[in-house]
Amino acid sequence: MSTPFNAAKRYLDQQVSKMQESKPEVGSRDRLKAMNEKMEKLREEFLIKESNSVISAKGLIINR
């Protein structure tokens, strides 16, 4: 029996097949590479901020 759900499923199965056959978009690998480099740099900066946050919190006493 055909239901809206089954119809959607069939459509999606077709789409997934297309997806599996698809090739990466032109230029997407270059964009990924550029993004990886940015994320690597940002991660290094983040790790410094993260460890310094803990160090700076050690000298503080919480009272009232």
Partner: protein
């Protein structure tokens, strides 16, 4: 041997129903008669320490006052500390339950009133036999407040009022007693009371348990308490089962308050450490005021330059200058203040100038991708893969938050606005317990609580290389996902229409 009935030998629970006008007189009388406080001091104590909390509540409320009441938090402090003193401290408390409609004592014995009592129950507060720190544990629904256009983290808290079992949805609050619990211990207690009542992974804790967990770390006695180091707060949270994180203002600068806002939007109560030398104070940030379209103007317009010269404009929900909701043990529950001036409700000038120096976030232990990196990844990914040549300079309004995948999928499954293909794709993708979500909207759509794009990240993936955290993105006509086998992004054409934004974290927007 015979037993004679002597009424004064039997300790009965006294209970009195009253409206707000008569509550003050009744409480002053009880402070005197039950706690042995001299009448003039009882009146002063009421005005200074109880009235500010009661004034915060709506005028039309009704109250049921019960004595004696055994409060679990005060009893823990009593047995572990106060009972060891020479002065004879009382061990019983007074409890005041709050109702939105008129009540009478006999309503609690008639079945026909049970539903009415349950639906009108708005919480309770406990009065400790301590001066001046009389205001004890409380669980008060925001509905009881005069000014209640706020959305907050809430948990169901049960209690028996005049023998009837009741439940209120609220965030726990208490004032410090300054000896067994200072602001630092109170924030820890409130966080665990919240999570312990809400999730099976956690358990509520009492002050003595907090001291026990930290005892191996401390080089001095723990009571009378002088307070805790921020690292102690983080350590205790870790011991209670969280993957806690500390962020400092000095290190994260412009991103610092935005990180706090993202966690609050995620429905996580955050420990906020306030500083204005020599003051150091700890409070909780548990929610924010409801969205008002005029607030959008306060979010700065930000840009990321894309390599081919196109500029990607955006605004962040987390950078809107709005009022947040604080639970502060020096003040009545649900204080509203800007993150830039978190102590604006203090009259003392030194306190008033406190700023947020650090935050401690109680994260679920398997959330490995934290807010700063998730936000950075989302913006870079949008610039690199979603917006190239498409945005025409119009700013995208980003709302970034954590959610449980179960709650999120439940919300998507019943969203009548979302097209069925996109919906099925989202629901069919396996997800971890927690996910990072970025909703992409604009100034017109967000007014209708709608979004037009979506990025979902795996919160267990801290490796940001090769788009690894990406579970899916849906924007314009493209649904993108990460294909692990080929190591590239793959696309499906969809017809994404506007869809409802997610509102379950704080039960509103």
């Amino acid at each position: 041997m015979s037993y004679l009935f002597k009424p004064d030998m039997i300790k009965l629970i006294e209970k009195i129903a009253t409206d707000k006008d008569d509550l003050g007189g009744l409480l002053i009388n009880l402070l005197n008669s039950k706690f042995g406080i001299a009448p003039i001091d009882a009146e002063e104590n009421y005005k200074t320490n109880l009235l500010p909390h009661i004034e915060n509540l709506k005028d039309e409320l009704w109250f049921l006052v019960e004595y004696p009441y055994v409060d679990k938090v005060y009893r823990d402090s009593f047995y572990n500390y106060y009972s060891s003193k020479l002065y004879s401290y009382k061990r019983d408390c007074i409890r005041v339950s709050i109702f939105s409609q008129e009540i009478q004592e006999d309503h609690f014995r008639l079945k026909k009133f049970k539903r009415k009592l349950e639906s009108s129950f708005l919480g309770f507060f406990v009065i400790r036999p301590l001066t001046p720190f009389s205001w004890g544990r409380s669980a008060i629904s925001p509905k009881a407040l005069k000014n209640n256009n706020i959305i907050i983290c809430q948990t169901p808290i049960g209690c028996a009022v005049n023998a009837l079992k009741m439940q209120v949805s609220a965030f726990p609050h208490s004032s410090q007693d300054s000896e067994t619990i200072t602001c630092a211990e109170t924030t820890l207690w409130a966080i665990m009371e919240y999570f312990g009542n809400r999730y099976p992974e956690y358990h509520p804790v009492l002050p003595s348990r907090i001291h026990k967990v930290l005892s191996g770390k401390k080089t001095e006695r723990q009571v009378p308490s002088l307070g805790l180091f921020p690292t102690d707060i983080s350590f205790a949270l870790k011991e209670f089962g969280f993957g806690s994180r500390i962020y400092s203002e000095e290190q994260f600068q412009n991103d610092f308050l935005s990180i706090l806002a993202i966690y609050v939007e995620s429905g996580i109560p955050v420990v906020v450490l306030l500083e204005n030398s020599p003051i150091n104070h700890a409070v909780l940030c548990v929610g924010r005021e409801t969205f008002d379209h005029s607030q959008l103007r306060t979010a700065p317009l930000e840009t990321i330059k894309i390599e081919d010269g196109v500029i990607f404009n955006f605004k962040l929900n987390s950078k809107i200058d709005r009022e947040f909701v604080f639970v502060d043990d020096n003040l009545p529950v649900y204080q509203r203040a800007s993150l830039f001036k978190p102590c604006s409700n203090y009259t003392d000038e030194k306190w008033n100038k406190c700023h947020i120096s650090h935050i401690v976030v109680p994260l679920y232990s398997k959330i490995y991708l934290e807010a700063f990196e998730a936000k950075t990844f989302i913006l870079q990914y949008t610039a690199a893969f979603l917006t190239t040549g498409k945005t025409n300079g119009l700013p995208i309004y980003f709302r970034i938050f954590l959610a449980s995948s179960r709650s999120y999928k439940d919300s998507v499954a019943t969203d009548d606005f979302m097209d069925s293909d996109t919906k099925e794709l989202i629901l069919d993708i396996p997800m971890p317990k927690f996910i990072w979500i970025a909703e992409l909207s604009d100034e017109k759509l967000i007014k209708k609580r709608l979004a037009r794009g979506l990025i979902i990240l795996d919160a267990t993936e801290a490796n940001l290389q090769n788009n690894k955290p990406l579970l899916l993105s849906a924007f314009e006509k493209e649904f993108q996902t990460w294909d692990e086998r080929s190591g590239v992004l793959t696309k499906i054409l969809i017809d994404l229409k506007s869809f409802k934004i997610y509102t379950k974290n704080l039960q509103g927007f």
